[in-house]
């Protein structure tokens, strides 16, 4: 891999909340086209890590270089950065005051400065993609969790981001809806979308991930391709964690 392909270069990333040190020095490179899956026990800092990547959390130490630019530098344009980094949340976070179509259009019109007609067309295309164009005029409260999350995904995609971040996109869903959401994410991955996915879906991690990071206690303890992590973990903590999540029954 050449330096041109590196999207995120993370150097010694630290994040504390008051006295609580959550990220204790993370070094990582994320390249174009990768599907990086982040796994690890609860409280290990996975969400904090992914939220640092679009500056929803301001790092307290280290550097994050994105497309050659230090996003932790003073005076950096956060909003421009976030246009290039799509984010999907566990709780969907569709805009409750807006219809489905406006959930997509309002950011396009106000951030991307698109015309109304153009935005509407783009939005309908994306809704069609996830089979929800008939819900265009519905409000978020009228949708199922799976439908909300699929819309949240295309809302982020609509901005044409360079990378997508997913923080446990299926954890708040009823089991029967997990599949439809993972399917959409898988399709994006198959098209070559760069993504970082925090998930507890180990099957998904193995099938779709191109690389797996195992986080524990604020560090990336182990990383590698899915096959070696799942079949032949080296780190004791990774082994311990995997044995707990894979042999649950």
């Amino acid at each position: 891999m050449t330096d041109k392909d590196v999207l995120f270069e993370i150097k010694g990333l630290e994040k504390s909340f008051g006295n609580l040190k959550v990220l204790k020095g993370i070094d990582e490179k994320i390249c174009k086209g990768e599907v990086v899956v982040v796994i690890g026990p609860s409280g290990s800092g996975k969400s904090t890590f992914i939220r640092c990547l679009n500056l929803l959390e301001q790092p307290t130490g280290g550097q994050i270089i994105f497309e050659g630019e230090d996003i932790t530098a003073k005076g950096f344009d956060v909003n421009k950065h976030r246009e290039k980094v799509g984010m999907v949340f566990q709780q969907f976070n569709l805009f409750n005051n807006l219809s489905v179509i406006d959930n997509l259009c309002v950011p396009l019109i106000n951030v991307k400065k698109m015309g109304e007609a153009e935005a509407k067309e783009a939005a309908m295309k994306l809704l069609h993609r996830v089979g929800l164009e008939d819900k265009a005029n519905a409000f978020p409260s009228q949708l199922s969790g799976g439908q909300k999350q699929r819309i949240a995904i295309v809302r982020a995609m609509a901005m044409g981001p360079d990378v997508m971040l997913f923080d446990e996109p299926t954890s708040a869903l009823d089991p029967e809806m997990v599949g439809e959401v993972l399917q959409v994410i898988k399709e994006l991955a198959d098209e070559g979308t760069t993504m970082v996915v925090v998930t507890h879906e180990m099957g998904f991690a193995q099938k779709v991930g191109t690389r797996v990071l195992f986080m524990d206690q604020g560090y990336i303890m182990e990383q590698g391709d899915p096959k070696s992590i799942f079949e032949n973990p080296q780190n004791e903590r990774t082994k311990d964690f995997l044995s707990k999540v894979i042999n649950v029954i």
């Binding site: 929803l56 976070n93 005051n97 807006l98």
Partner: protein, 226 residues
């Protein structure tokens, strides 16, 4: 004299007082809302001196009696050149300090209503808006405030109801509101109990009508809420 005769003979006093009460309450609510918006903006500001000032202001106003505030404003601001005019039997010299004091008081409560209305909106909404690249201002205008307004407006309606009652302290500065006129009738008739009953009924009617308005409004808000 029974209550009915007192009202028949002196209704002009009661109605004149009621008019003053309504006018003052209306002005106070409008001014209080404007000032309250500003205070809530300061309160939510990331700039510490602003938010600390707003916090202090709200603490002081909520922690002291309305009547004390009224007198402090009246004596503290006695240097202001109030116009020496009388409108609808209200001497501006005396009404204006009342309006200022009540508005300042109302503003503190309105500010808290607005703040809690905004903070009641799920924080995920702001995060999602910012994640789409919206500025803080855009996120507020397009996503947060439209949701917060549904919590805020009904509470402001209730603040209006409170203010109608609070205006009864106007009489302490000799403003001819409902209570002031009530006392004139008491002096004339020597029937304090009946007079207070009449005044109570008038306040009650005013606030029942207002309350109906507020709840109709709430129903309409709920309808648009999905």
């Amino acid at each position: 004299m029974n209550m009915m005769t007192i009202f028949m003979n002196y209704y002009k006093y009661f109605l004149r007082g009621t008019r003053t009460t309504i006018v003052v309450a209306l002005i106070v609510v409008v001014l209080g809302c404007c000032l309250g918006c500003i205070i809530s903006l300061l309160r939510l500001s990331k700039f510490k001196p602003f938010s600390e000032f707003a916090k202090l202001y709200i603490t002081i106003i909520r922690g002291t009696p309305m009547l004390v505030q009224l007198y402090i404003v009246y004596f503290q601001l006695d240097f202001l050149p109030y116009p020496k005019m009388t409108i609808w039997g209200m001497a501006l010299e005396r009404v204006m300090p009342c309006v200022i004091a009540l508005s300042m008081n109302s503003a503190a409560y309105v500010a808290e209503i607005i703040r809690s209305g905004i903070q009641a909106v799920d924080s995920g909404q702001m995060e999602a808006a910012r994640s789409c690249g919206m500025t803080y201002g855009q996120a507020m205008k397009l996503i947060i405030l439209p949701q917060a307004i549904k919590n805020i407006l009904p509470a402001i309606g209730n603040e209006f109801v409170t203010m109608v009652k609070e205006t009864s302290i106007l009489m302490y500065l000799g403003v001819a509101d409902l209570m002031y006129n009530n006392n004139l009738v008491v002096t004339a008739t020597y029937s304090p109990l009946y007079c207070y009953y009449i005044s109570a009924i008038i306040y009650l009617i005013l606030n029942i009508i207002l309350g109906k308005g507020v709840s109709m409004f709430e129903v309409r808000m709920k309808k648009s809420d999905r």
